[in-house]
């Protein structure tokens, strides 16, 4: 009788230990594919897998003021439609009612001029530390190239196919696309990346000059 009581205590202890050490719900896989139909439009397909069902069941998309988002569909792992509702509010698209642990979202984003920022749906659940479960693939229109750096930084397999592997889901892809023959050296040089790098180096140089001049003045 007494042994049974001890056994029960041990079982309760083990159960409490396992509950305490259970891993939090996390992002297991996120694959996004952005395919440009033209420099002003792209279709986006995202598949998400989390470690367990639940969470807020909400995704947000942040399109720019000159962009429209159409044809939003949400399906579960088997391709069946999920009863999710998409609505615009204060310039943000809310997709609500997504419950399954694995689902896909598809939509088409169009800009009035060139499509420069492509909004991505970012789930509220994070990946585990030291893992990079987020993969992004971008396909450019035929005959077009990416001008300068992108966000996130893409590795280009060829001029039209880029990809990235990340630790966290970005809410936007920033990419400047132009016809190959229309790209000039100025397009590649006068970008925020090169300007900020130049400014940083200039500041460090000026700071160093100030430092040396100050020391010489004090020594002299």
């Amino acid at each position: 009788m007494r042994d049974h009581r001890y056994a029960r205590l041990v079982l309760v202890w083990v159960a409490l230990y396992l509950c305490g050490n259970a891993q939090q719900r996390h992002l297991a896989e996120y694959q996004a594919r952005v395919e440009f139909g033209s420099p002003a439009a792209a279709s986006v397909s995202v598949s998400v897998r989390t470690s367990a069902a639940g969470g807020s069941g909400r995704l947000l998309l942040a399109p720019q003021a000159d962009q429209t988002i159409e044809g939003i569909t949400v399906t579960d792992e088997g391709g069946r439609p999920v009863a999710a509702e998409a609505r615009w509010e204060d310039g943000v698209v809310r997709i609500e009612g997504i419950v399954p642990e694995a689902f896909s979202v598809r939509y088409r984003v169009t800009a009035s001029r060139t499509l420069h920022r492509i909004p991505l749906p970012a789930p509220s659940v994070a990946a585990l530390p030291q893992q990079r479960p987020v993969s992004i693939a971008v396909v450019l229109p035929r005959g077009h190239v990416a001008v300068a750096n992108s966000f996130p930084g893409l590795q280009w397999r060829d001029a039209e196919h880029g990809s990235a592997q990340l630790a966290a889901v970005p809410s936007v892809i920033v990419l400047r696309v132009a016809p190959r023959e229309a790209v000039t050296p100025a397009d590649r040089l006068l970008t925020p990346e090169t300007l900020s790098t130049t400014a940083m180096l200039a500041l460090l140089l000026l700071g160093s000059i100030f430092w040396i001049a100050r020391n010489r003045r004090r020594a002299g």
């Binding site: 942040a62 509220s124 530390p129 966290a168 970005p170 809410s171 900020s196 790098t197 940083m200």
Partner: protein, 476 residues
């Protein structure tokens, strides 16, 4: 190794080679223990202001505060006025007077001012305890940064941090680190300032980011904390800044009283700039990466994925350098407590300068290893650890420092009871609030207990403290 990690490795190698060179230069000029601790009292207002800002702005700001803005939004910004008020108190009531008093360490000051060797011992022990908490935050931040850059386990990052910091701290002391701090603040400020337009551009504007963050959670752009909570945080930071022992060691390295006041003014400029940039950085990183594994990763994920490779790498190097600078400042203060105030006064009173310098450097090595275990366990985020440390520092030192420097009364018993009362109140309330919700912050209880203990004991004991002028034995 991915291209971003490679960029970082090259930039870091160049930077730390420069740091090592300056460290060796500093060692050649360091001859006595006082030289080691005060850099020969030769630093001017601009370098002094940069040094003060660099000493305070460390992993707590670049990892912890960015992470706090990332997770809770705008309202944390109200902690900054508390920090600035702390600097004002320091500029008027603490810094210049302490510089004039001339004590090498805070325990030395308290011992001379209150004619109390017990106050010296107690304050030395409290300094070591409080700064070990802060070291945990710095080590944890370092682990997070390296985890983000290289995907390596935090224990290796902490080993790298310990070895590199030991190298330049034990080689040069304050003289070498003051010049490194100037270089570091230059990189931090330019990296922060440049990151803001890049981040805003990437998301497509501040208004657009505001709408997105509001849709995520209205508290991010509104009020995450209530007024009482913010007051408690601001008070902790403000009072801790006003009486921060490692900032005070920096005052001692400046030329004179006027230099201290001007340096604090310069420090304000750097901090206002950095505070604004850190706020925008936290918010924009939340907009660009809504769900990170830990808010502490916000600054490193931002630097590696959003900024251009060179700017991002330099920012990360500056961040690591800020951690090193802070670890260096903490180790200097804590090891001075061991060598000067515990060993030199209680263990071997006849120790020569060279023996004390040796003990100082040996204790730096020992103290740098102590917090590693706590940092590896990651009990909470970096900013929360910093908040705990500021509460204790404020509760230990604010009352005896302010009263000691600005009044004539007081004695050994009142100073000792003030410090002991402050730590007991703060500790007891921290334990109580871990189980029971309360709107009263532990720092408020700590300060109240400290002040009450001081005045109560002072009322019933004879005042025998030194006058406000610098006593002859203040340096000893």
């Amino acid at each position: 190794m991915n291209p971003l990690s490679l960029h970082f490795a090259v930039v870091a190698a160049v930077y730390f080679a420069v740091v090592l060179g300056i460290g060796v230069f500093g060692m050649r000029k360091t001859k006595t223990e006082e030289d080691f601790l005060t850099a020969g009292r030769s630093i001017g207002p601009w370098v002094g202001g940069a040094v003060l800002a660099a000493t305070q702005i460390s992993a707590g700001t670049l990892v912890g505060t960015v992470g706090r803005h990332y997770s809770t939004g705008v309202s944390w910004v109200w902690v900054w006025p508390g920090v600035w008020c702390g600097w004002l108190v320091s500029a008027i009531f603490v810094g210049p007077k302490l510089r004039e008093f001339g004590a090498v360490t805070i325990p030395a000051y308290l011992a001379a001012r209150f004619r109390s060797e017990t106050a010296r011992l107690l304050s030395a022990i409290f300094i070591i305890f409080a700064y070990m908490i802060l070291l945990v935050a710095q080590y944890q931040a370092c682990g997070v940064v390296f985890e983000s850059i290289f995907g390596i386990r935090p224990v290796y990052a902490m080993a790298i941090l310990t070895v590199s910091t030991l190298l330049y701290t034990t080689l040069g002391g304050v003289r070498s680190s003051s010049y490194i701090d100037f270089l570091q603040i230059l990189i931090v400020v330019s990296g922060l300032v440049l990151s803001v337009p890049v981040l805003v551009y990437m998301f497509g504007g501040l208004n657009h980011a505001g709408a997105y963050l509001r849709a995520m959670d209205t508290r991010i752009t509104g009020s995450w904390y209530n007024g009482r909570q913010l007051f408690g945080f601001a008070l902790s930071f403000g009072l801790a800044i006003a009486a921060a022992p490692y900032e005070m060691v920096r005052f001692n390295s400046m030329r004179d009283k006027a230099t201290v006041r001007n340096a604090i003014g310069v420090c304000f400029i750097f901090q206002a700039l950095i505070g604004s940039c850190v706020l925008i950085m936290g918010l924009m990183t939340r907009a660009l990466f809504p769900a990170l594994p830990s808010p502490d990763q916000a600054s490193s994920i931002m630097a590696l994925n959003v900024l251009p490779p060179l700017v991002g790498s330099l920012f990360m190097v500056a961040l690591l350098s800020a951690i090193m600078s802070n670890v260096n400042a903490i180790l200097l203060v804590a090891s001075a407590g061991v060598a000067h105030d515990i060993y030199g006064k209680f263990i071997n009173r006849r120790a020569s300068e060279s023996v004390k310098l040796l003990v100082n450097r040996a204790s730096i090595v020992a103290l740098s290893l102590a917090p590693v275990w706590f940092a590896l366990n990651r009990y909470t985020d970096v900013q929360s650890i910093v908040v705990v440390q500021t509460r204790f520092i404020a509760s230990f030192f604010f009352v005896p420092m302010i009263i000691g420097l600005n009044t004539r009364g007081g004695n050994s018993a009142s100073a000792v009871s003030s410090m002991a009362g402050g730590v007991a109140g703060c500790l007891a309330w921290s334990i109580w609030t871990a189980r029971h919700a309360s709107n009263i912050d532990a720092v408020e209880v700590g300060i109240a207990c400290s002040a009450l203990s001081y005045f109560a004991v002072n009322a019933f004991t004879r005042s025998d403290a030194a006058s406000l002028s610098r006593p002859a034995d203040a340096r000893s």
